[in-house]
């Protein structure tokens, strides 16, 4: 049996003097409890669910972010490693190309040297040939000049008498 609540509220003395209405309090309590259960049944669950989901989402996002940071760091490390390897390979290729280019240049120089020596040799041979030809021509001209001079001298110096003497001497000299 409930105490007489109305007596508590109606009284202007004791707790009533403080403004506390027990009736109202009980009703409010009941209302609160009802509200609590209703909320618990219909609100708290979904709200908590939403909050949980949100938290999970946030946690996931944080984890994802952390994972992405980690992956980013790993990727950066990989990229750095790959870059280093690539630089090393590039250096090797450049070095090999330079060696190859040097070899090509050396081979071309050797070829050019051989060709130049060949050209010089041909030129020397040609010079020798032309010198020999010039010498022969000069000898021929000198001989021709000597012969012409001799003919001129003979023409001047050998008269009838001398010619007859020479013929006589020559005929005597013929052995039979």
């Amino acid at each position: 049996m409930l105490p007489n609540i109305s007596t508590f509220g109606a009284s202007s003395s004791g707790i009533g003097a403080l403004g506390f209405d027990p009736k109202a309090f009980v009703i409010q309590l009941i209302t609160f409890i009802l509200a609590y259960f209703v909320l618990k049944r219909y609100a708290f669950g979904p709200i908590l669910k939403v909050l949980r989901e949100r938290r999970e989402t946030i946690d996931k996002g944080v984890k994802l972010g952390e994972q992405m940071q980690k992956d980013k760091a790993e990727l950066a490390a990989q990229v750095e490693t790959t870059l280093q390897e690539t630089r090393v390979k590039a250096d090797e290729i450049i070095s090999a190309s330079q060696d190859s280019a040097r070899q090509i240049v050396r081979a071309a120089e050797d070829k050019a040297k051989i060709k130049a020596e060949g050209v010089i040799k041909s030129a020397e041979e040609r010079i020798q040939q032309e010198t020999a030809l010039a010498r022969q021509k000069l000898e021929k001209e000198v001989v021709g000049l000597i012969a012409d001079a001799t003919e001129a001298v003979i023409g001047e110096k050998v008269d009838d008498k001398k010619d007859i003497q020479i013929i006589e001497r020559t005929l005597k000299g013929i052995s039979t």
Partner: protein, 136 residues
């Protein structure tokens, strides 16, 4: 068919030795050579004729000199030729004045030539000098 040069030369030599060299005969030979386009063979034919004459004892010597050959020289030439050709009955010397030879004498006879001229010596000097041999 073309008569060979030697046969033709033999015919001319025989005819000329028998009858001498007559104008008609010379004209006939000239006409024959012209007709058969053998004028270029004349020198060769005359050499062969000279050789045939020489075989028959009649030697013709063509003596070329830069100055006139004296009778003494002519005599010497005949003497030398007779020494070279003992069977010669008659030597006929034809003298030609050729200043080109400068001096000395050049003797052409019976398919042979004896060149004692200065020109020949100078040519020989040229030839030997060009071939690099010493000229003695």
């Amino acid at each position: 068919m073309k008569t060979s040069r030697l046969k033709l030369a033999k015919f001319i030599a025989d005819k000329s030795l028998k009858s001498g060299i007559k104008k008609d005969f010379v004209q006939e030979i000239a006409a024959y050579l012209l007709q058969n386009r053998r004028v270029g063979d004349l020198d060769s034919i005359m050499r062969d004729v000279s050789a045939d004459w020489a075989d028959a004892g009649h030697l013709e010597v063509i003596a070329s000199s830069a100055h006139t050959i004296t009778p003494a020289i002519e005599k010497q030439i005949k003497t030398k030729v007779n020494q070279l050709y003992p069977k010669t009955k008659q030597t006929i010397i034809t003298k030609i004045l050729d200043p080109e030879i400068l001096g000395g004498v050049r003797l052409n006879f019976a398919n042979q030539q004896l060149d004692l001229s200065f020109k020949a010596k100078i040519n020989k000097f040229k030839q030997l000098t060009m071939t690099g041999k010493e000229y003695n």
